[in-house]
Amino acid sequence: MSTKLLGERIKRKEDPRLIQGRAHYVDDIKLDGMLHMVFARSVYAHARITKVDTTAARALPGVVAVYTGQDIKGKLGLVPCAAGMEGLKIPDHPCLAIDKVCYIGEPIAAVVARDRYVARDAADLIEVNYDPLPAVTDPLKALEKGSNVIHEEFGDNVAFVAKLDAGDWKVVEADSTLKVIKQRFINQRLAPISMETRGVIASYSPGEDTLTVWSSTQIPHILKTQLALMSGVDEARSRVITPEVGGGFGSKLNVYGEEGVACFASKQLGKPVKWIEGRRENMLATIHGRDQVNDLEIYVQPDGKVVGLKCLIVADLGAYHQLLTPAIPTLTALMILGCYNIKHVDVETKGVFTNKMATDAYRGAGRPEATYIIERAMDLVAHELKLDPAEVREKNFPSPKDFPLALPTGVTYDTANYQKTLKRVLKAASYSKLRKEQERLRKKGKYLGIGLSTYVEICAMGPSSRMPAGGWEAGTVRVEVTGKVTVLSGASPHGQGEETTFAQIVAEELGIPFDDVTVYHGDTFQIPMGIGTFGSRTTAVGGTAIYNAAQRIKKKMARIAAHKLGIKPGALQFVDGKIQTADGQKSIGFGEVVAEAIFAKQLPPGIEPGLTEHCVFEPPNYTFPFGAHLAVTEVEAETGEVRLRDYFCVDDCGRILNPMLVDGQVHGGLAQGIGQALWEELVYDENGQLVTGSLMDYALPRAHQFPWFNTSNTETRTPVNPLGAKGVGEAGTIGSTPAVVNSVMDALRPFGVRHIDMPLKPEKLWNAMKGGLKTS
């Protein structure tokens, strides 16, 4: 009997400590002599700072230090941007504003005090005088000649322009049989809102000249390098520890100014300094997601075959670049064709500065926007040509035999069967029955909508040649003397459950009990190398590094076992705590071989003592998970309210290592994707004030607003890595938003409605319906 772990619904190793409240987050860490930091932030979106008076704050008992932009100038590095794009304009982004503020919530001063409440009170005593400047809040107006310029040194508000042009547009434009469908889509700004806000403790030891930082981050190793560079502490003397992280969704794939200031303050004071972000700060000053305006043109044959796509993507980047800000909208251009091999493509992407918080990676990061554009387009094609939306998609799918498929966008899709997921979801939802029900209900004045989305995403990021600072991942497997196994991963999962998945991989490979494997991550002193968790990469890239390390352990153990058994080293099996020949005739205990490997009494010649293997996996390509989603909605004609009645999805994330974790990822992703379609929106007013700055005003969905999700999977293994896994962290978010919008637009069809921008609030729908029914 072999140890079957992969593909099983194994409960998460992480859960007992999390559910029982015994896990440790940054705020749970208390160090001797620790001081607390609070920031004074800008109340203007755009203004010159004429004075910062910290006298009263410094005088408050309990205050240890107050730092302003002038104090850090030249002593603390700038907030880094890693996007290396040609011609990209990168404005100086100091950790504390020096003489100008460019968005609401920009940190101006930091107060360090003996407790957090004194620090807060002192921050309120800091007097800042502003000379307000006109705020630039609309990305389209920001592009106009004569617009106020945020960063004067650049002359305009354009951070970059990127072009993607393929095919022969002369042919397309000359073809009078083609129908041209145009539409503007607005992909609204969202807040990532992780349950745990950001948090950091920086502890500089003057004697040892070492810097230790505890941060709620997705990228401990990158953060270590950057904080070392910013604070001037030797990188080899710097350490980042990531304790439990209560969610990130991309918002913690970053290096923030507050982290830099914490290091600076600790270095100045020789004491640990803690900063824990408040929820309102989190809404204001943690990166935002999405925020694009997309002008689309689709060129389609009368039979529904799409031959050309043009799109202008205007991406609102906010005031400064965070780590990957300008790179995110380029992913929209890269994935804009979705699962359709459209020959002629012309995409222009413009990144625009506005007086808002920076946008950056939020679950899906550029791909939800791409999927929304192309999947709404497919429905518009169906609508205009009076075809069934499922039929239009099918007509445009490449065949499973076409893979690997090189697209005009420059990426090569690994493997897929789009027909299969679509067919499955139509069957799961009883599509033709639903259409009949829709007809029946319409006659009764009830408006049912059926919306499809067939998506493909780009995951397992990624080949180093395409990534800003390496796309590999590192893994170490170490067998301890007692036969227990320690696994180290450079990916830094923060809720995804890879402590479980990685243990499944190693336990199955080594034929030992699942409970004998413990996975560690998120400490740069323990884990030699790492990139992090984002872009649905941790299992596919990080898991493969561990899988490869386990193969090396097996190879070494097999040599020692063969030596002990007096047989030729060959194909030995690792099963049930034993290493045995294929026929099971000869075997030796796993523990016995471990002892031999470490005590090294009779090792075969040329074998080094010890069982520690470190592996770095460099992926040859991205992976391209895909799926088909179907949303059933009901729209109340009298009120414009939407009820999401049913949700079906068939996702293909390659080989599934733990179906329960895949379901969990899909459920969470759906909640966020549906949230964008129906409720969520960050709103800035014309002065650049954030008017949705609390959870009273920002409509984050709650569980009762969702139906049960009918999830299922197909498994098309990727050849890109030996596990065959593609990644699933962002699938739900990417696939669901257009499915829901398509569904609501389908419901409103009798009213002649073609498109309404998200979020689909009752007010907008009611207004669209009040004109009454239109007979088409």
């Binding site: 204001l284 004030q689 008017v691």
Partner: protein, 146 residues
């Protein structure tokens, strides 16, 4: 945010105008006004304690009367800042005779920023209107008690 409206005071226009220029009366009438002291340049320094939504903060600010044409109209600039953010307002008050009474017509623009804008936006217009009404009610009382 635009604020406009009218309020009738049972007193002759000359008196109403004069009292509107009286810092003592003003300070008693302005909701949450803790201090109102004249500056050498003719403006006033003010300390106001105002609550919007769940936030009650103290604002240090300035009140200035401009373009005054007695007893007909004047322009008023108010600005304040505090831990809840900032507020700025500019408005015109026009006084007209209505029999023995005086009709005050006001029209102004107000802007808020910072915390009060990000968490209290939905309440701000309501709160501002309420504060204006409170001001006139209190002002009318002060005149009546003269």
């Amino acid at each position: 945010m635009t604020l406009d409206g009218t309020y009738k005071i049972s007193a002759p226009r000359d008196i109403v105008y004069k009292q509107l220029m009286n810092p003592e009366v003003l300070s008693r009438s302005l909701p949450g006004c803790e201090k109102l002291t004249p500056n050498p340049d003719g403006s006033f320094s003010a300390q106001l304690k105002i609550g919007i939504a769940m936030m009650r903060s103290t604002y240090q600010g300035r009140v200035e009367i401009l373009d005054a044409v007695a007893p007909e109209h004047f322009r008023m600039l108010v600005e304040g800042k505090g831990s809840g953010g900032f507020m700025k307002g500019e408005g015109t008050l026009t006084l007209s005779e209505d029999g023995d009474d005086t009709l005050i017509a006001y029209k102004g623009e107000a802007q808020v920023g910072g915390l009060i804008a990000s968490v209290g936006q939905r309440m701000i217009l309501g709160a501002a209107k309420q504060n204006v009404t409170q001001f006139f009610q209190e002002f009318a009382k002060q005149i009546a008690a003269r």
